[in-house]
């Protein structure tokens, strides 16, 4: 059976050019970048060339890019690292931090942890289209506010958050505050890197997280941009790599691969992907009754289509499509490992019983029209079959 992959927000296949760029660093260029000899320096060059490519992409200085094991670590380092440094400077300072209710758990659970430690946390709501409103942020800001962390693109519904607008708003607010009162701005840009402008000067962010494996690069590698002058402490200790902010021997091949992947991000793919996605949305909504299209129709990345099908359960849809060789994902509670339905859909006001029937289809640059046609053909009878099985009609 030929398998069709439509789950690119989970991870992407490694691009051939990326793999080619990585190979020497898994072979002859195996040195430790911290070693002063030939082998070490060969690896060091790979890491530093990669840093430069990423700095170009982000439009920042090379020494503002820190390599990590992925976006989860980048988010943890950004948020815990800032709080740790500020507490070191003044342990009695009252702190308030702000995030949104639709963040990935890699941010949400960091905030939950800090809340348990006694820091005041505000969670911004979203509209029914899955967007954070600047006005809600304005209302949430207090004199003690230290950090705002809002994702650039939501991983479930693909909505693009107004990061540049929030950046400008915070810049204005910070003008009226002393340097000690500055509100720092972090964004998790993991789902945005393929499609959105990630220039940090445009976004007005102090910290930005992303990873390799969502952009046709390798897993287990990511980066954190930290603007010069941002107070931040390390959260792991050891060999003083990455200016002592992130100890541990660099994942050289991963770093080289991630940089190559960034270099290859192409705008021309976006149009093709958008066309296919729009076809999926149009046809499935026409063919399947009681279907809801989740998330703003305009302010979303071109690859994402997210639906709720009433009176069916997402995991059953996923498994039945898998049997036909089509890979998608679901926000259903049953497949989450936690038995909790999608916090994103619930935050958007989707009724809980409806949220169980959610399906996320995320396209990539290798998908073809034929593959999309197969999905459009395969899904409606699956929904019909499951609905026939259901006692609730």
């Amino acid at each position: 059976m030929k398998y069709i992959y439509l789950d690119h927000s989970a991870t992407t296949p490694i691009n051939k050019e990326v793999l080619k760029a990585m190979r020497p660093y898994l072979g002859e260029n195996f040195g430790n970048p911290s070693s002063l000899h030939y082998f070490g320096q060969k690896a060091r060059k790979g890491v530093e060339d990669a840093r430069e490519k990423i700095a170009n992409f982000l439009n920042c200085k090379n020494d503002e890019v820190f390599f990590t094991s992925g976006a989860t670590e980048s988010n943890n380092l950004a948020i815990f690292g800032l709080i740790k440094k500020i507490r070191k400077q003044n342990k009695d300072r009252k702190l308030h931090i702000i995030t949104s209710v639709i963040e990935h758990p890699a941010v949400l659970e960091v905030f939950d942890q800090l809340k348990k430690e006694g820091i005041e946390v505000s969670y911004l709501p979203v509209t029914k289209n899955g967007l954070v409103l600047e006005d809600d942020l304005k209302k949430a800001i207090k004199s003690e506010t230290l950090l705002v962390s809002i994702m650039y693109v939501n991983n479930e519904v693909g909505t693009i958050q107004p990061i540049a607008e929030i950046g400008k708003l915070l810049e204005e607010i910070n003008k009226k505050r002393t340097p000690e009162e500055k509100i720092y701005f972090h964004t998790d840009a993991v789902q945005a890197a393929n499609y959105c402008d990630c220039k940090v000067s445009y976004l007005g962010v102090d910290m930005l997280s992303f990873s390799g494996h969502k952009i046709y690069g390798p897993k287990g590698v990511g980066a954190l941009y930290v603007k010069k002058g941002t107070p931040i402490s390390a959260i792991v200790y050891g060999g003083h790599q990455e200016q002592s902010l992130r100890s541990g021997t660099e994942n050289v091949a991963g770093i080289v691969g991630m940089a190559k992947a960034i270099e290859m991000i192409g705008k021309k793919d976006n149009l093709k992907i958008r066309k296919l996605r729009d076809e999926v949305a149009k046809k499935l909504l026409a063919k399947i009754p009681d279907a809801i299209y989740n998330g703003d129709r305009e302010k979303r990345i071109p690859s994402n289509a997210n639906f709720c099908f009433k009176n069916v359960e997402g995991e059953s849809i996923l498994l039945m499509l898998d049997m036909e060789g089509i890979a998608i994902s679901t926000g259903s509670a049953c497949s989450s490992g936690s038995l909790k339905p999608s916090h994103v859909l619930l935050a958007m006001g989707v009724p809980q019983e409806v949220s169980h029937g959610s399906v996320r289809i995320t396209l990539g640059k290798e998908n073809t029209k034929e593959e999309i046609q197969k999905l459009i053909k395969a899904l409606p009878p699956i929904i019909k079959k499951l609905r026939e099985m259901s006692p609730i009609k």
Partner: protein, 133 residues
């Protein structure tokens, strides 16, 4: 992956559920679960009498299910119908959630509640039948 968590038996029952459907003239109907939790099970049971070991015995002549839920919910529904079909009702009443999970070659811990729902629907129906009598 989710599927890897399920045994071959669970996937077989999910792919081709046994006794799925409705019995229009069912003697009794048992329901469990809640749409808010994403699982709803309904068992349609037809009870009849026949002589077993020379004794007139009430037994489950036919049983069908309707289920809204995940693969485990559908597989446990299918399995419970297999386990009790043709059995005297007292025997059917003794089926436990462990019987269902074992017959399926085991369930992931997080899905054990599906086997609970299945026995709940059955026991509710049989209890109602006995009190009605």
């Amino acid at each position: 992956m989710v599927q890897a968590l399920y045994t071959k038996k669970v996937m077989e029952h999910f792919k081709k559920p046994h006794n799925q459907g409705v019995i229009k003239d069912a003697t009794i109907v048992g329901e469990s679960g809640n749409p808010l939790c994403g699982d709803v099970m309904k068992l349609y049971i037809k009870i009849d009498k026949k002589k077993i070991k020379g004794k007139e015995t009430e037994y489950i002549k036919d049983i069908k299910f309707e289920t809204l839920g995940c693969a485990a919910a559908i597989a446990t529904s299918s399995m419970i119908t297999d386990l009790v079909k043709g059995k005297p009702i007292d025997e059917a009443d003794n089926v436990t959630k462990a019987n269902i999970a074992d017959s399926l070659g085991g369930l992931p811990p997080i899905k054990l509640h599906c086997s609970v729902l299945a026995v709940e629907a059955l026991h509710k129906a049989l209890k109602e039948y006995k009190t009605k009598k």
